[in-house]
Symmetry: C2
Subunit: 317 residues, 2 copies
């Protein structure tokens, strides 16, 4: 396996779905200091956003003092924030991104393919401000059926630094990863990234498959903390790569941060289970599953039955 | 994917590593009744064994009243018991297996390749008593380096009904599964089985790869309950196969039994974690990891450090 790919850890950003983007200050400090010494290239610390309804915590808005503090713990890392494209318009960019300039290397954008044209306009604005730009494009399991949006990538090599395929439902298998990469490569030369979810326990093998098929940037989170069934566990990827002599690092540092997040996991219980497996296997949205499971009130059977009833009419996010 | 393969569930046998082979009577009844209606061909209910030192529970010995009771709940299933070859000699077979005859269809044998010759002698004795015989041969991740024992399979097609490859360390990847199957196929025509572990979250993809490469029998346990990081989760395999229209079944029944075992999982906490990932990636024995993790006294970092120190001198079981 090539060692040319890089790892992005997005624990605070994707983990925030469980904590409403609030994290204990000491935990964040420990996390950042671990990232600083581990072979992680990019650390995504949260969203930047216009004010949205309802309470959303520190790492959903990442005010300047947060960025400044985190950068001080991770001076050698490239820090990343993400914009949720559906809420952000070009006129918001100045307020949102100007304060990022001293701290943030790359701006990712979470994009529904149906808004792809609008996203490209926004990306040009982000790029003009001097940031690297990554597209995190959702619902890759549907692209084989509907890939026309990919044609819009033509000529955008100078605007988009990374094009991420996001397995939003956690439902793709390695063969699908290969096919979808071929499809995307046939449309663009933008370097590729992969963001996996673990509903079917495919996060690691899909990520390794992506790397073997020329993806240069892949995502993980500590203990897999992340929406629904969660993400590729950064420690699983690192341990595997270490065993193959691809990466070397201090396991004590990795262990300590994993331990911290395992304690949180005992409380929030991310990770796959039958309802998430079901939503992954059938490409059903996990947003609602997450609410049902989180309520701890519904037996697994009721959730699976409700999902079964939903197989026809699908929407997420 | 072919639908010619069959599933064996070994929740009570492999899960027993966490409960010392004791299970609540009602839980077992619910489990058996779920198995009876799910598309599972074989149900392995435990070990049969000579008396060993220390306390070992009901499903380590499977006395006749246990076999009789479980068969009454699962009249349509083929029940299986397993012998740990290292403890069982031909002179034990009569006492151990004669009481099984009314209830048990197949006897599996857990075998260390280094005892392969002795195992064949035992297998002939088991076969002569009228049972189907399955070899569960451990440490498949080492076979590429040492496969001479496989030569002994020649001419045993009438003695061994299934030859199982066991990923004892949970460390193989799909490419390894393919290669090892090719290796075994070059030596024997005995139908193949695969028993995966989940240290690297490869249990499902390895099992699917095994099936695509002609394995006809594959193992799972409900919620993955099993030694160390645990097994392929039966519900994950069934859900995936259902989504591909290969198997149909009642999700309500599956959900109920998964729910029962999730409650046990909250107590015993099987599933992969950093120490199990490490032992899987480096083919280290998970028996000791399991003790360390189970004691709940050692921080993950200490366990990983101890494992690191062990990388050179390896033995399990």
């Amino acid at each position: 396996m090539s060692s040319k790919f890089r790892i992005l850890d997005c624990t605070l950003r994707d983990g925030g779905y469980y904590t409403n983007w609030d994290f204990n200050k000491d935990l964040v400090e420990d996390y950042c200091k671990a990232m600083e010494v581990l072979p992680i290239e990019y650390v995504e610390i949260g969203y930047r956003s216009i004010s949205l309804d309802g309470y959303l915590g520190e790492y959903f808005y990442c005010p300047e003092y947060v960025m400044k503090r985190l950068k001080s713990f991770m001076p050698s890392k490239k820090l990343v924030i993400i914009l949720d494209e559906k809420n952000i318009r070009p006129e918001h960019l100045n307020d949102l991104l100007e304060p990022c300039k001293p701290y943030i290397s790359m701006v990712r954008m979470a994009i529904d393919p149906k808004n792809f044209e609008r996203a490209i306009i926004l990306a040009k604005g982000v790029k003009a401000m001097g940031f690297d730009v990554a597209f995190n494009v959702m619902y890759m399991s549907n692209w084989k059926e509907n890939s026309t949006f990919l044609d819009l990538l033509e000529g955008l090599e100078d605007t988009i630094d990374y094009f991420y395929m996001v397995d939003s439902f956690g439902g793709v298998l390695p063969e699908d990863v290969k096919e979808i990469i071929e499809l995307v490569k046939s449309k663009t030369n933008v370097p590729l990234g992969f963001h996996g979810h673990d509903n079917l326990e495919m996060a690691l093998i899909n990520t390794l498959t992506a790397v073997e098929n020329d993806c240069v940037l892949v995502d993980g989170t500590i203990t897999g903390m992340g929406r629904g069934a969660g993400n590729l566990r950064t420690e699983l990827l690192l341990t595997y790569l270490n065993s193959k002599n691809i990466l070397n690092f201090d396991f004590t540092k990795l262990s300590a941060v994993v331990n911290d997040f395992e304690l949180l996991k005992n409380k929030y219980k991310w990770g796959t289970n039958l309802p998430y497996m079901f939503s992954g296997a059938f490409s059903l949205p996990q947003k609602q599953v997450m609410e049902w499971v989180g309520m701890n009130r519904y037996p697994i059977g009721n959730i699976v039955n409700a999902l079964n009833n939903q197989k026809e009419a699908i929407q997420d996010n």
